[in-house]
Amino acid sequence: MTALTPERRRRIIIDAIGIGAATGAYAISFGAISVAAGLSVLQTQALSSLMFTGASQFAMVGVLGAGGGAVTAIAIATLLGSRNALYALHMSTVLRPRGWRRLAAAQLTIDESTGMAIGHQDDPPSSRLAFWSTGVAVFVLWNLGTLVGALGADVLGDPARFGLDAAIPAAFLALLWPRLVSRLARTVAVLSAAVALILTPLLPSGTPVLVAGAIAVTIGVFLTRGAQETDEFGQRAVGS
C-alpha cells in the first residue's frame, strides 16, 4: 500500500504535464493536417475540444480530406472512439463521479488519462489524481498544439509541398504501433490492410476501411474464442 504523499503527488503531476507536452506537440501535426485536409481553423479547434480523442480526429480529417462522405467519416471516427466506452467503464469504478464531474470525467476519458490511472491502480487516490491531472494537462496542451498547427498550416499553403499528406499515414502508424502487442492484433492489422487495399478501387472512398474492419474483427474474434487477451496497456481486462 502506497499512500498519496506530497512527493508522490508531485511526481504524478509532473508525469501528467510531461504526457500533456508530448501529446500537445503531436497535436501540432493534427492541426496542420486538418487544415490541409480542408477544414477551417475553427472546425479543427472544435474537433480537438469537443471530440477530443486523437485517433478519431485524425480519421475524420483523413477521410474528409480524401474525399470520403460525411457518414463514412462519422462512422469511422465513432468506431475508433468505441474503446473510450471501455475505458470509461473502468474509470467509473475508480472515480465514482457525480453531477458535473461525471460530464468532465467522460470528456477527459482517453488513452493517456486512463493509461496513467491504471499505472497507479494500486492506490485509488493516486489513480484518481493521475486521471484528472493527465486528462486536464492533455486537454489544455492538445488544444494549444492544435491551434499552433492549424494557424501554421494556414500560413504555409500547399500541403503536399511540405509532405503533410505523408504525415497522415505516419500518424495512423504511430497510433497503431503500441496496439500491436499480440499476435492476434498483428494478424487483424495485416488482414485489414490487405482487404482495405483490395476494396479501394471497388468502393466509395472511406468505406473499404469500414468493410475491412468488419471482416477482420469478425475473424479475429472467431479465431480467439476463449483465449486470454491483453490490451494495449498490457493489462488483462481493463475494468474487471
Partner: protein, 103 residues
C-alpha cells in the same frame, strides 16, 4: 456540411465516453465485446494507414507518401516519439518530391 460532420462526430464520441459512466458494467464486459472493442482500433488504423498511403481517390498509386511511411516506420522502430515519426514522414516525402524522384 463539414460543420455537421464535425459536430455529429463529436457528439457520438462524447456519448460513447459518457455511456461507460452510466450504463451497467455487465453490458460491455462480455469477453467477446471486450475483444471486439480492443480490435476495432487496430483494424481501422491499419486500414486507414494503407489506404491513405497507397490511394488517390479510388486509384491505387505509389508516390512520395510511401517514402514518408518508411521513414515513420524506422523512427518508431528506433522508439522515437510520435511527433518525430510524423515529422520524419513529412520531411522525407517533401524531400523526394523536391528532388523529383517520386510524385
Amino acid at each position: 456540411m463539414i460543420w455537421a460532420t464535425v459536430l455529429i462526430g463529436s457528439i457520438s464520441a462524447f456519448a460513447l465516453k459518457f455511456a461507460g459512466f452510466v450504463i451497467p458494467e455487465r453490458f460491455l464486459t462480455t469477453p467477446t465485446m471486450r475483444r471486439v472493442t480492443l480490435l476495432i482500433p487496430v483494424s481501422l488504423l491499419a486500414g486507414l494507414l494503407v489506404v491513405q498511403t497507397f490511394s488517390s481517390g479510388s486509384t491505387l498509386v505509389i508516390d512520395a507518401r510511401v517514402v514518408g511511411l518508411g521513414a515513420a516506420t524506422v523512427s518508431l522502430a528506433l522508439r522515437a516519439p510520435l511527433l518525430v515519426a510524423v515529422l520524419s514522414a513529412a520531411a522525407s516525402a517533401a524531400l523526394v518530391r523536391y528532388l523529383g524522384w517520386l510524385p
